[in-house]
Structures are given as structure tokens and as C-alpha cells.
């Protein structure tokens, strides 16, 4: 139910009530979404869409940091003379 899927905004418009709407591409499948809750999001940005509503604009820097945390773990382990990768053999 709380499923939210990242997609890329490809166009932005307003509906009759002045609500911010847009088209969002999910790996090529394009759907309409309400963008009223992500006023800062622009064409080309990734948003999390849940039941037809963008609920956040994804932060690329933070996304990178999540992935880089692993690299840091590795460094710490290396300093301690241990390897995290031995189980991969």
C-alpha cells in the first residue's frame, strides 16, 4: 500500500483547479501524477510516486551517500586489517 516508485518527470502542467500535475516516466511507462506536493520538482527530476501522487523529490546527493556508506565501511575494515569481502569467494 505504501508502495512508492521512483519515476522521472517529463512534463508539468496545471489542471482546471490550478493543481500542479505532470507526466512521469517509470522506465519508459508514462503515467499522469499529481505534483502539488513537490512544487520544487522540475522536468528531469526523479520523484517518488504513490497512488498517483509525487510525495518527494529524490535527492541525488543523498542517494549517492547511501551507496558510498558501503565504501566507508570497507575502508574502516581495511584499516583494522580485516576484509569484508572474504565471504564472496
Amino acid at each position: 500500500m505504501c508502495l512508492g516508485i521512483p519515476g522521472k518527470i517529463i512534463s508539468i502542467e496545471e489542471n482546471d483547479l490550478g493543481v500542479r500535475m505532470g507526466k512521469v516516466s517509470f522506465g519508459g511507462i508514462v503515467k499522469e501524477a499529481c505534483l502539488a506536493y513537490t512544487p520544487e520538482a522540475q522536468v528531469g527530476d526523479y520523484v517518488i510516486v504513490h497512488v498517483g501522487f509525487a510525495i518527494s523529490r529524490l535527492d541525488e546527493e543523498e542517494a549517492q551517500q547511501t551507496l558510498e556508506m558501503l565504501a566507508e565501511l570497507e575502508e574502516v575494515a581495511a584499516e583494522q586489517g580485516e576484509s569484508l569481502t572474504y565471504i564472496l569467494q
Binding site: C2, G4, A36, T66, L67
Partner: protein
């Protein structure tokens, strides 16, 4: 960056498992609140990759599962009326009520439709001015902005034939109910990333403080979950009891302020019964008085109903993380996705359906 594949890298996952292995020195029990996370855990077998010391129990984060049977019976009563188009997310259609489910109502000629968004229901109301369109507004905080927007737009457009049946539930009171339950064994939580995308995580700080539990806001991909688990276990081992944010690419501490504003304009907090758990004070949302005309419960005046739960179903224990689905005597025999006895076997986020789908052949 596509925000999906990067978080499914198997080698990275193995490294996290190893990091967890090196961090953990004694047994810990953690709960993931969200049913979506439960499914990722079972689908990718994350629970089986973890060291023996770590026990994962599954939380109540399946809105379909916790919708009380009485509300479901009301939905069924409304959907059975002539002139009503009853709209719901697909998962809700097969959840058994006392005597029927919504699909049976449809088979008997009721106009029951599956929609992807509450805005689809709104469109149906515009296109069918002579019929009553009712949307079954089930969900956690994640879904509340969508339903608030649908109601607000209906009011702006002066739509007289649209209403919602609100079954909205809130996560923080449920966490407190779990922590307050006698015999609670949960020592740390993965908080649901999309609920916190909407609400932020400041609400969780007093809980972490009061109950001395670490809470890590966590995303939904396998690497997110492993990282969330790693952060929670590290905090436990180091004696830190605070809120941390693993899912920072989507979640900010204050949450989505625009969304919160419309939720507060349209809804107010109310006591809510959770299926299998009972009433949790201030754990749900109902429409404010100013929007009462859009409240299906008032519009259709559905009376209080006596409900009949399946005597075999232990959904309440499952939803509180006190039992796992295979411990239910009906699991996989008298209760299957084709013939569910309880909601957790139906919903795509229910723990019973996750175990049924991913663990039986193993």
C-alpha cells in the same frame, strides 16, 4: 541514477551482511513496521542471510490487513446498494468480511471497481453524475495526502456524488501500542520510509527517547533494508537510542510540509480500531466537520454491525509481531491466497501472503 538497480546489487548486499555479522555481539530482535519491507525481506531472502543473533519480526504496516472487519462490512453494505459505484485499491477486494468480500458483491451485480488512485474515483464521479461514487480510503500517512487532495478537489468542484469511507491509520501510535504490550520483545525498529517521507520523523524522536529504542527510517530496496538493519544494530550495540535516517534521498526530518498542510485541513485525528489488535487511541484519521458531506459513513448511514471473524485466524498476533505466519494452523492449508481466511493472506503487503509466496518451496 535510476534509484532502483543501484540498491539491488548483490555484492554490496553481501558486504552489508558481513558488516552486520561483525557488529553483532548478542541477540537482538528488530521489527520492520512496513509490509512492503516485509515483502522485500522475504522476496530477497534477507532474513536468511542475517546472523543467527538477529531476529526480525514483522509489524502491522499493512493498511489492508489492519482495516477492521466492521469497516469492511460497512464497505460491503454500501457497495451492495443500487446506484453506487464503489471504488477501492485492488488489494481490498478479496479481504473477507463477516459473510462476503467485495468481489462477491461485484459478482452479484454490484458496481465495484478497482482504481489506482483516488483521483480515478473522482473522475468517475464527474463522469457519472447520477450515481454515487464511494472511495474506500484505506492507508497510512503515505496515502493520506492523496485522499485529502481528492476530497479537497471534490469540494472545489462542488461534486455532490463523491464520498470516501475513511479507514486511515497512523504509524506512531501503533509503535507505542507494540512497545506497551506486555511481553514485548522488540528492541529496535525500522520505520517506514514513505510514511516518513510525508510526515517526517520528528514524531518518532520522543518514542525513541521514552522507550529507549533506536528507530531507523528505512527505504524499501534490499540494500536500504540491510543498511537500515546495520544502522539499528550498530546503535543497539553502541547503546545509542535515537532516530536515524537511512532513506535520506526521500525523507527529511520535517517531512513534506505541503502534504501535511492539506491532510490537516481535511482530516482530524481520531481513535481507530485495528483489526486483530483493538482500539488504539488517536491512531486514525477521519474527515473534519467542514468536509462531513464527503463522509460515506454519514451519507449512507450504515449502522453499527456485529462482525464474525474466522475463529482460526491469528491475524492479530501476526500483526503485532508475536507470531509468524507458519505458526498459524490454517497457514497454507485452509488459508491460501485463493481462499484466504484473513487479510494478511490477501494483501500484497500481508505477512502471510509474503510467507506463502516466498518461503514455501524453500
Amino acid at each position: 541514477m535510476k534509484y532502483i538497480d543501484e540498491y539491488r546489487d548483490e555484492i554490496a548486499a553481501q558486504r552489508y551482511v558481513e558488516a552486520i555479522r561483525q557488529t553483532v555481539t548478542r541477540p537482538w530482535t528488530l521489527m520492520e513496521i512496513c509490509g512492503g519491507q516485509t515483502h522485500t525481506i522475504l522476496k530477497f531472502g534477507l532474513d536468511r542471510m542475517l546472523p543467527r543473533e538477529v531476529t526480525l519480526v514483522h509489524g502491522p504496516g499493512c493498511p489492508v490487513c489492519v482495516t477492521p472487519m466492521e469497516l469492511l462490512d460497512k464497505a460491503i453494505a454500501i457497495a451492495s446498494r443500487p446506484g453506487v459505484i464503489f471504488c477501492s485499491f485492488g488489494d481490498m477486494l478479496r479481504v473477507p468480511g463477516s459473510h462476503q468480500d467485495l468481489l462477491m458483491v461485484k459478482a452479484e451485480g454490484g458496481d465495484v471497481r478497482m482504481v489506482y488512485s483516488p483521483l480515478d474515483a473522482l473522475k468517475l464521479a464527474q463522469q457519472n453524475p447520477d450515481q454515487e461514487v464511494v472511495f474506500f480510503a484505506v492507508g497510512f500517512e503515505t496515502t493520506a495526502p492523496a485522499n485529502a487532495m481528492a476530497v479537497w478537489q471534490a469540494q472545489q468542484m462542488g461534486l455532490r456524488n463523491f464520498s470516501i469511507l475513511s479507514a486511515h491509520v497512523l504509524v506512531p501510535p501503533a509503535i507505542e501500542a507494540i512497545l506497551n504490550a506486555p511481553g514485548n520483545e522488540v528492541q529496535g525498529f525500522l520505520a517506514p520510509g514513505h510514511v516518513c517521507t510525508v510526515m517526517g520523523y520528528w514524531e518518532y524522536e520522543p518514542i525513541a527517547e521514552r522507550y529507549q529504542v533506536p528507530i531507523v527510517v528505512t527505504g524499501f530496496e534490499p540494500l536500504d533494508i540491510l543498511q537500515g538493519l546495520f544502522m539499528t544494530l550498530k546503535a543497539l550495540e553502541e547503546g545509542r537510542r535515537e532516530v536515524e535516517n537511512q532513506y535520506a534521498r526521500s525523507v527529511r526530518r520535517e517531512g513534506n510540509v505541503q502534504a501535511q498542510r492539506l491532510i490537516q485541513q481535511v482530516f482530524e485525528v481520531t481513535d481507530r480500531a485495528w483489526r486483530g489488535i483493538g482500539v488504539i487511541p488517536r491512531s486514525g484519521l477521519r474527515l473534519r466537520e467542514e468536509y462531513a458531506e464527503f463522509d460515506a459513513e454519514r451519507r449512507f448511514d450504515v449502522a453499527e454491525m456485529a462482525v464474525e471473524e474466522s475463529p482460526e485466524c491469528i491475524a492479530g498476533l501476526i500483526l503485532q509481531g508475536r507470531k509468524k505466519p507458519p505458526e498459524c494452523l490454517a497457514f497454507g492449508t485452509r488459508c491460501t491466497p485463493e481462499h484466504p481466511l484473513g487479510a494478511p493472506m490477501v494483501s500484497s503487503e500481508g505477512a502471510c501472503s509474503a510467507y506463502y509466496r516466498y518461503t514455501r518451496e524453500a
